[in-house]
Amino acid sequence: MIEVKEIRKRYRRRDVLNGVSFTAAKGEITCLIGTNGAGKSTILKAIMGLTPVSGGTIHIDGKTLIPELYEKISFVPDHLRMPASMKLSEALRFMADFYDSWNEKRADELMKFFRLEHSFKIGSLSKGTAAKFSLVLGLGQDSDYLLLDEPFSGIDLFSREAITEVFTSDLIEHRGVLLTTHEIGDMEHLIDKAVLLKDGVVSQSFQCEEMRSEEGKSVIDVMREVYRA
């Protein structure tokens, strides 16, 4: 379980995060929802140790972040973050070289599924293709947790469909997934838990299934309540 407790972050005199707490469990898909600039990406980066926090704690399976844990968590950032001149095959080899938890077979299968050529150069990929390859890099690891930052933003419909298909497959099943988005749209039926961020704190956090059955509200309904108010 990913446990985030009371994390704070200041950026240029603005309290971006003001005591954010939530959990994301293994086997569940948790979605961090918030408006643009709400700090969703920052939370993911903080969990991944890519940015420091000024207060609070982050624990993954009870441990604080140490380099070894990177074998167990993969991060799919909003952009591909690989050198433009690198070929896809070289990027895959990079991952294989450095991660013990890299599953080469699965990576190849995903490449075929997404119809990506090994000889393509990173710089020449379209946004949709890059997003797919990003996912390959993330899913190619036998990790327990998968963090995704805006996986669908700016992606064309067909790429989106392909990615959604992966989400429902067994590739995701046993992992804990934490993703961020500001447009819940067609993702709603995928997620198990929603965490709504407003003004630097968690405004609401609930299991989607329960919310629907007990209060008859969809995630979008709750969002309207929180953000329109």
């Binding site: 940015t51 380099p67 070894e68 433009a84 450095f98």
Partner: protein, 280 residues
């Protein structure tokens, strides 16, 4: 250790074309300059023979026998310019080796920071790679010298040439005499000092990357602080010191010690910044 070596290899791999280009430019520029000078000299020798001995007074005369030392003396610029290019490129790369990971949309630093290896290894891999680039270019130049001597032997017929020692060849060139010191002990001091300076700059760069706007100021302060610490024994503890006068041997040992401290602190601080303070 394994991942550290792989990171070193990755840094080398990314730079390989530039390194090869630098070596190639050096080889071509120096060798062609050499051949051109030799051919000109041989033509002039012919002229001098025909015109007789008094012509010597009017030309920059060419000696009766050509050797590599004389050739190096007469071809200085062709040798020095590629060396200056290498120095410029490597100096820029001290900064670029870090900043390239933050540039553009494909900020590779994300991937590097997420690797399951101590962040210290990122720092150490970059310094190792940079040092290797510097030393490999020095080694390449050293290997080129006997090769160029061979070129001289091929161009100049045996009756017109004489031997010279490689140390004389190096000493007659104004750049090489500084970059390739005569004693290995001095080589250690010069390049050791250079390494420590690069470490200081690396840490200053990481300070800049960790603290946004204040970062540049912290970086500059850090550099100034380190310089002061190392210069202190020489400035303040010499024979006429009013604080505590030290004997020369003591100053030497103290300076070495402080340099090691500055190096260690830079590595430690840089690694800590990468681990705890860096932000992407």
């Amino acid at each position: 250790m394994n991942r550290y070596l792989k990171l070193v290899h990755m840094e080398i791999h990314r730079f390989r074309w530039i390194l090869i280009a630098l070596m190639g430019i050096t080889a071509i520029c120096q060798s062609s300059g050499l051949i051109w000078t030799l051919k000109k000299a041989m033509a002039q020798l012919e002229e001098q023979k025909i015109q007789g001995a008094d012509m010597r007074k009017y030309f920059d005369s060419v000696p009766d026998t050509l050797n590599f030392e004389w050739a190096m003396f007469s071809t200085q610029m062709w040798f020095i310019l590629p060396i200056l290019l290498c120095i410029a490129v490597l100096s820029l790369y001290v900064f670029f080796i870090w900043y390239r990971d933050w540039m553009g949309r494909h900020t590779f630093i994300y991937r590097l920071l997420m690797l399951p290896t101590a962040r210290r290894n990122l720092f150490l891999a970059k310094i190792t790679a940079l040092l290797l680039f510097v030393f490999s270019i020095v080694a390449f130049q050293l290997i080129m010298l006997p090769v160029q001597e061979l070129v001289l032997k091929l161009v100049v017929p045996v009756e017109l040439r004489s031997e010279s020692h490689i140390v004389d060849v190096i000493n007659i060139n104004q750049a090489l005499v500084e970059l390739i010191p005569r004693q290995f002990e001095q080589f250690f001091y010069i390049y050791g000092l250079g390494t420590i300076v690069v470490l200081m700059f690396f840490t200053a760069i990481l300070l800049e990357r960790s603290y946004q706007r204040m970062g540049i100021l912290y970086g500059i302060l850090y550099l100034a602080g380190c310089a002061l610490v190392v210069a202190a024994p020489l400035l303040y503890f010499g024979l006429d010191s009013s604080i505590i006068p030290l004997y020369p041997m003591e100053i030497y040992v103290l300076v070495l010690f402080l340099l090691s401290v500055v190096a260690a602190v830079s590595v430690w601080l840089g690694s800590r910044l990468l681990a705890k303070k860096i932000t992407v």
